[in-house]
Structures are given as C-alpha cells and as structure tokens.
C-alpha cells in the first residue's frame, strides 16, 4: 500500500510535497525532484527555498507562515527554478491534514504550473496599461460613461482640461462646464442617443479650468458587447478652437474684402476690421491709425471700442519715434510691442503711457500697415487690459489683418485719387474748352465727348456723322479738313486748325490734334482732342491790334517830340538870321551907313543860314534813309548830333549834359540812324528818370570809350531814380516800363538794334543816385586809329571766335 501510494504520488502530474506542522518539508515527490533537478533529501527541511525565485521568497515564507498559523487552506504564487535554470510560475495550493482534534498534523502542498496562464494575464494587463496610455495620450478629451450616461472614467486630458478629479467631475453631473448657449443642443442630442442608442456628433463650447471657453467637436458613440447590447458610451471631444477661429477670421476677412470690393467707405471697413479682431481674439481692443496726406502726422482710422478721448489724443501726433508706439511703428515701419505699459519708459515726452494706463490699457502691440509699394499707410494696434506678449497665432492673425487693412486703405486712397483726377480732368476740359473724340478708321464710327457737342452746338441726342460735321466747317477751311480726313486713312498723327461757321454766322476757331493707335483687334483708331481756341484767337487779334496802335502812338509821340526839336533847332538860326538881317538893314540905312557892321551882320546871317541848312540835312538823313545802311560811323560825331537834336528837350527838363567823348575813338560799322535812335532813346530815358529830381543837379554824362580791346562803348549816366536790382533783367523787355507815361518800347527796340550790330546793351546802378546804360559794339575791322597793343588784342579775339568784327557788312 505504502509503495503503491508512493507510486501514485510520484506519478501525479503536479509537484507534491508534505510538511510537518512546524513547516519543515518532510516529503517531495518525484515530479518535484525531476522539475527542480534537486535530490529529494536536498530539498527537505528548508532546502526547497533554494529553488524559489529570490524576489518571491520573502512573500512566500511569510504567506506560508500565515497559512500555517490560520490552519486553513491557502494559495501562494511563486516562481520555481527548473532543473535547466528557467523559472516558471506555479500556483501552490496548501491544505492541512488534520486529526480529529482539529489541529493539523501535516500540511500538504501541490504546485501547479501556471506559467502560461500567468503570461497571458501579464499580456492582458500590459495591453490594458497600453490602452490606458493610449487613451491618456490621445490629443483629445475622452470620457467613458455607462449605458445610462453615468460618467465612469475619463482620460488625463479630460481631467486636466476641466481641472478636477474624477470624483469631482462625476459630482458635477452630465454636460458640465458647457457654454449656456450650447447646452440645450447637447442635452437634446444626448436624449435622442439614449433613446435610440445611436451615436451623435455636435460642436459646442466647453469651459476650461481657467474659465476660457473653447470650441469642441463632440463624438458620442456606444460600445456594445457580443450580443449587441450597449455596455458603455464613449465621448470623444476634440478641440476645434483654432479651426473655429480660423474659420471666423476667414469669414470675417472675406466679408471685409467684399466690403472693399463693394466700395464701402474706408472708415466702415476699418471699423469692421477692428470688430472682427476683437471678436476673434477675446479681451482685446483694436484701432487703426492712418498717416495723413502730408506723411507727417497721425490721422484717425477706426477704433470702435476705444474711448474717443484716447484716440483723439493720438490723432494729430507727429510721426516720429517719441510720440508713442503707433507713431514709432509708422516711423520705423516695424512692429512695436509694449508687453507692459506700466514698466515702459519710452515716449515719456508725450506722456503716452500714462494716457493709455488711464484708460485701463496695459499692453499695446502696434503693427505698421504698408502698401504693396512699401509706403507706410498707417498702423494697426491691439490693446489689452493686462500685460501681454503676442503669440505666434496672434502674429499670424495680425499679419492677415494688416494685409486686408492695406488693401482697404490703398483702395480708398486710389479711389479718392481717381475721383480727384476725374473731377480735375473734367474741370480742366471744361475750363480749357477741350473736347475729345475717337473714330474707328474702318467704320467711321465716332464717339464724341460732351464738350464737342457744345463746341459744334449739336444736339447731344443726334448721332454724329461726317456729313453733319462738314456742314459746320467754314467753307474756306473744308478742303483742308477733307485732306486731313484722307490723311487719317494712313494712320498718321496730325495737328490742324480750322474754323466753324455757326448758324448765327459767328466764327469759331478750333485746334485739333489727332493720335492714331491700333486697338487690340488690330483696328485703326484715332483719339483726337479738339480745343476751342476762339477766345485765344480773339485775344491774339486784339493784342496784335493793340500792338500796332501802340507802335503808331510811339511813332506819333516820337514824331511830335522830334518836330518840336527840329523846330527849335531851325528856329534858333532863323532867329539869328532875322535879327542879323534887321541889324544889317539898320546899319546900311544909317547916316553914314555902317558898312563894316553891315558886312559883319550879313556874314553872321550867312553862317546862321548854313546852320539851319545843316539841321535840315540831318533831318533828311533821319527821314530819307528807309533801308538799313551800314557805313563806317564815328560814334562821337553821331553822339554830338543826337545831343544837338535833343538839346532843347534836355534843356526843358533842366538836364545838364556833360560829354566825355574819347579821343581817337575807332569807328564802328552799322546803321547811323538806328544807332542814333538808340542814343536818343538813352538820353531821353535818362532825362525822364531825372524829371522828379529836385534835391540834386539833373546831371547827365554821356561818354564814349574803347572797351575790352575791340569794342566801342557808349555810356549814358544819369542821377535819376535808378532801378531796382531785380528789374535789371526786365528793363529790355517790350512794354516793361517804370515810367507813368512811357510805353516801355524804347529799350526793347534799342536792344534789337544793338543786337543786330553784334553788340550788347546793359544797365548798372550807380554808386550814387541813378543808373548808367551802356551799349558796346565791335569796332570797325580796318580801323587804323588803334595803338599796336589793341591790334594785338583784337587779333587774338579774331582767332578765338573765328568771327571778324564788322561782319555786319
């Protein structure tokens, strides 16, 4: 029996042992020994401990102790070393063998190999851990609830987002921390899901631990067992705040661009832009500040949510680095970020920061707005009531917004400029009476502007044809216009003037300029402007008439003065002749006759007669020379003659004439009468300039001299009123005069005469009162009255300019 039993025990498919009540092993079966590779006697007592895994041994000993103390059956799990050194998990079931008294007399243990089962369990646990890890790691909020929507568990994100422990969140009840606006929607969807067991999706805002609401996409779906029964509900909540914001921003931007395209006013667009940003980024205030047209000052753009007093204090500030962050951003064309206004020290001069702080603002980010061409149009500012620094998301949005602002501002400015230039063009056309029309070469299709209808006095409702146009053109000008029309076939540009004969027989002068171009269809098209120059023509005619009248008056006036001069010059010798003749008669009639006296007086009579004859000869020279004659002229002699002719005029003006005529003055070549006219003009001008002078002598010095080697210069110096130095360039212009009675023609005529003599005429103020007028003309080439040094100087000049003096011949 003993053997048979031993045999059975040894054959049992388990590791079997028995122990004494004190825990000492007193039997190990064959299988135990086979498994551990330990001799039975080596395993007895506490020898078996050597095959237990060191990590499991302490617990095993303790547990074994506890079982023995309890006297009840128990189980222990531990790893046992196999004969080949591998450890495997075993479940050891221990039962007491008791006597009738109840106290165990022996303990019996059976080791069952649970290695495989244990491994499976480990794998399951690992898998569970992994699942937890995955769920926790999911970038989304996950909540698991029971079939009746009682929250059971949630992932880490969920707990962190809402900021509570599992138990706290469970206590909050269903649909906790939901935006009041979104709550009814979720409740309805849940109810439906509960009733139907069908999943649902919804978007809603949920409050984060810090109080901020963020948008989530909620997916709530059931998990079913193999029988199709709902065991759990899984709620996935994905944060879509950024997407929502981007969508809102995008929609806002689109609506802003629509406003721009629709031609909405810039201030409305900028206001909407500020509002968009304020809606998109909670807790901020926005403003747009523009740069004024001068580019030097800030101007108001939009600030729908900021106090007007604050914006008013910014508007008008100079664009520089000191007047505030907005001005600085514009000035530098760089973003200026003030994260904390309270600790900011810039812009102290304008006390900008205290101004902003007084409005409760603590942060300001100012970004310049530039046109596509890089011109700074203004700036976009975001304000916060607490210190803040922009995030990359903020920067992305700012960059989008400033782009739209740039488009809106540039568009508004372009529109304004276009409107201005259109108005300007229309006004210019109206003022300058310019009309325009286009004509297509092939079809003779004509498009007229309003101005042309007005010029031609056609009814704008009547279509314009060439025949209609021809009917208005002055018959005398029609052939030339027809020629022009012919020319148009060739595609030449043209310019022409012609007249219109209006129904009331009035005449209009038109100036037409045509420019040919080829349109995109390859068709010849003429763009033509027509200007009504009737007024100009009339002015020109009136001016020409006035000029000829003036010239006539000048002639009459100078003739009158000349006649008086001539009469004076002739009357003087005549007076002498008559007096002498009377004396002569008296002397001859005396008793005895005074023959010697009579002879003397008769001689004087002859002399005065010759003198009168000389005057007449000079007059003949002045009036009979009609053509310009060039001759060799002694300027001194010519000057003396002019003085003689104008003496009475000068005397009447109480002018004291002093002559300083150079000896051996070389001759000049030119027209004697013309040059004398110039001298006379200078003398009379000088006399006139002194007519109001009473505090000093009316001294006139007329001088001649050799000038610059090869020129002869004549100067007329007066002590008159002189001229302003800024008038010096105008003195020789026609119709320029400082005299109340003068025509202003004399000096311009003098200029043209002197220039025709290759000479110069100019004026200089005197050091004392009055002015000196000079003219210089080249000396005669063949002159032989010069010293040798002057001849040498002249030769040099000749070589220099290759123009012999006296070329007027």
């Amino acid at each position: 029996m003993e053997n048979a039993l031993t045999h059975v025990v040894n054959s049992l498919p388990g590791l079997l042992w028995t122990a004494r009540p004190d825990g000492q092993i007193d039997f190990l079966n064959r299988r135990w020994c086979d498994y551990t590779g330990l001799q039975a006697d080596r395993g007895l007592g506490v020898g078996w401990q050597s095959v237990v895994h060191a990590a499991d041994l302490p617990e095993l000993i303790e547990r074994w102790q506890a079982i023995r103390v309890s006297g009840e059956p128990g189980e222990i799990e531990a790893r046992l070393r196999r004969f080949d050194g591998e450890y495997r998990w075993f479940l050891c079931r221990i039962s007491p063998l008791s006597e009738a008294s109840g106290s165990p007399v022996k303990w019996c243990g059976l080791h069952i190999d649970i290695e495989d089962k244990r491994r499976d369990e480990d794998m399951l646990r690992a898998s569970e851990r992994r699942s937890h890890m995955i769920i926790d790691g999911l970038p989304t909020l996950v909540a698991i609830s029971s079939a009746t929507f009682q929250l059971e568990s949630a992932n880490l994100h969920y707990l962190e987002y809402f900021g509570g422990t599992m138990d706290e969140l469970k206590a909050l009840g269903p649909v906790h921390n939901c935006h009041p606006h979104d709550r009814p929607g979720i409740m309805a969807a849940r109810q439906l899901a509960l009733e139907t067991g069908r999943p649902y999706e919804i978007e809603a805002r949920r409050r984060r631990a810090d109080g901020a609401y963020r948008w989530f996409h909620l997916r709530h779906f059931p998990l079913k067992d193999t029988h199709g029964r709902i065991v759990l509900w899984c709620l996935l909540q994905t944060d879509i705040e950024d997407r929502k914001r981007a969508e809102a921003l995008l929609a806002g931007e689109r609506s802003l661009l629509e406003m721009v395209a629709a031609g909405e006013s810039m201030s409305r667009i900028l206001e909407a832009l500020c509002q968009l940003v304020e809606e998109t980024v909670s807790g901020c205030f926005c403003s747009v500040v523009l740069v004024d047209s001068s580019g030097t000052r800030l101007a108001h753009g939009a600030a729908p949510s900021l106090p007007a007093s604050f914006i008013d204090s910014i508007v008008g500030l100079p664009v520089n680095l000191t007047s505030g962050p907005c001005a600085m951003a514009v000035c530098r064309n760089e973003q200026v970020v003030v994260a904390d206004l309270a600790s900011e020290t810039r812009w102290a001069a304008y006390e900008w920061c205290p101004l902003a702080l007084a409005q409760g603002l603590q942060a300001c980010w100012s970004t310049p707005i530039s046109s596509a061409a890089g011109k700074v149009l203004g700036e976009f500012a975001i304000y916060y009531t607490e210190p803040r620094t922009p995030t990359p998301e903020h920067q992305a949005m700012i960059s989008q917004i400033k782009h739209i602002a740039s488009i809106a501002i540039a568009r508004a400015q372009n529109d304004a400029a276009l409107k201005r230039s259109e108005t300007f063009l229309a006004e210019t056309r109206r003022i300058s009476s310019i009309g325009g029309f286009s004509k297509r070469g092939a079809t003779d299709e004509i498009t007229w502007s309003k101005e042309i209808y007005r010029m031609y006095e056609f009814d704008p409702a009547v279509p314009v044809t060439l025949d209609l146009i021809y009917s208005r053109i002055h018959p005398e000008d029609l052939p030339s216009v027809l020629e022009l029309i012919e020319l148009q076939r060739s595609g030449c540009d043209y310019e022409h003037e012609y007249r219109l004969l209006m129904p009331d027989s009035s005449i209009k002068y038109l100036h037409v300029i045509g420019h040919a171009s080829v349109d995109h269809a390859g068709q010849l098209e003429y763009i033509t402007t027509i200007q009504d120059i009737t007024e100009r023509r009339r002015s020109e005619e009136a001016l020409a008439k006035a000029r000829s009248e003036l010239a006539h008056m000048a002639r009459v006036t100078s003739l009158g003065a000349l006649t008086a001069s001539i009469a004076h010059e002739v009357n003087q010798p005549l007076s002498g002749i008559i007096t002498n003749a009377s004396t002569c008669l008296r002397m001859l009639a005396a008793d005895p006759p005074n023959i010697d006296g009579a002879r003397e007086t008769a001689r004087r009579t002859i002399r005065d007669g010759n003198r009168a004859s000389d005057v007449i000869m000079r007059l003949r020279a002045l009036f009979t020379k009609k053509t310009v004659v060039t001759e060799s002229i002694d300027l001194n002699e010519a000057t003396r003659e002019v003085i003689a002719l104008s003496r009475s005029e000068l005397q009447r003006n109480r002018v004291i004439v002093q002559t300083e005529l150079a000896d051996n003055l070389p001759c000049v070549v030119g027209d004697r009468v013309q040059l004398q006219q110039v001298i006379l003009n200078l003398l009379l001008n000088a006399s006139d300039a002194m007519s109001g002078i009473d505090d000093h002598p009316r001294q006139l010095v007329i001088s001649t001299e050799l000038y610059e080697g090869d020129q002869v210069r004549l100067g007329v110096k007066d002590s008159g009123v002189g001229f302003d130095s800024h008038d010096v360039n105008r003195l020789f212009e026609a119709f320029y005069t400082t005299k109340s009675t003068g025509m202003g023609i004399g000096l311009s005529v003098s200029l043209s005469i002197i220039e025709s003599h290759q000479g110069h005429i100019w004026a200089t103020p005197n050091e004392g009162p009055g002015a000196t007028f000079f003219f210089s003309i080249p000396q005669r080439g063949e002159g032989d009255t010069l010293g040798s040094s002057s001849v040498a100087g002249r030769a040099t000049d000749l070589a220099d300019d290759q123009q012999p003096t006296g070329k007027a011949q």
Binding site: A564, A567, H568, E569, N571, Q572, P573, L574, S575, G576, I577, I578, T579, N580, S582, T583, R586, M587, A590, G597, T601, R604, D608, R611, S648, L650, Q651, R652, R654, V655, I656, V657, P697
Partner: protein
C-alpha cells in the same frame, strides 16, 4: 544913368547873344548879353536894366526861375521872354505871371520893338 536905356539879354544860344545886342544898339538902346541866369544875377547890371530879354529853356536856372528869383529880390524888371519852342500854353502861363511879352523865335524887329516900348512904359 545913361540916356539910352539898358536892355539885358540872357540866352544860352550864342547866335542870339551875338546878334541881338547889335540890333538893340542900332535901335538906340544899350544892350548887355549874358549866357546864363546866374551870370546876369552876379553882374552889377540888375539895377540899371530897364528891360530883360530872357530865354525860357536854359540848362541850370531857366528863364521862369530867374523871373521868380527877381521877384523874390524885389527887382521889378519888365521881362520879354523869347523861345524857340512855339507853345501858346507856355506863353499864356508866362504872361499870367507878369511877363510883358513872350516872343517865339524867329521874331520880327517890329514885334520886338513893340514889346520893348511896352516894357519901357511900364517903367
């Protein structure tokens, strides 16, 4: 005082200064010619002059200037103006200011004598 009244002539024209004294001498007067008003004023003949034949237009001091000066100096010498500019306006003006006559050059012996005799009657 000479029996022949002294007639002074002031004219910047030499031919007048040459011819007129001879004629006046032939007519029975004493004549003295001056080339300028200043020269006459500086001469010692002011008090003796019974009649002054005076050119209007002269450089520096003119005939009318001299007339004014003489009035200021209380020399009431009858004045016959002579001028080569025949301007009736000027003549009227001068007669209005007390001149005996204003003769336009060339003047006849008769008109000169008539003017002189008026001047001497004034005296």
């Amino acid at each position: 005082m000479s029996l022949r009244p002294l007639i002074s002539i002031v004219d910047d024209d030499e031919s007048v200064r040459e011819s007129l004294p001879d004629l006046l001498t032939e007519l029975g007067f004493t004549a003295q010619a001056f080339s300028s008003a200043e020269a006459f004023l500086e001469s010692g003949d002011l008090n003796q002059t019974r009649c002054l034949i005076l050119d209007i237009a002269m450089p520096s001091m003119s005939g009318p200037d001299l007339q004014r000066e003489l009035t200021l100096r209380k020399h009431a010498i009858p004045i016959i103006f002579i001028t080569a500019h025949s301007d009736e306006n000027v003549r009227t003006l001068l007669l209005g200011k007390g001149a005996v006559e204003c003769l336009f050059k060339p003047f006849s012996e008769t008109s000169l004598l008539a003017a002189i005799s008026v001047s001497l009657q004034v005296n």
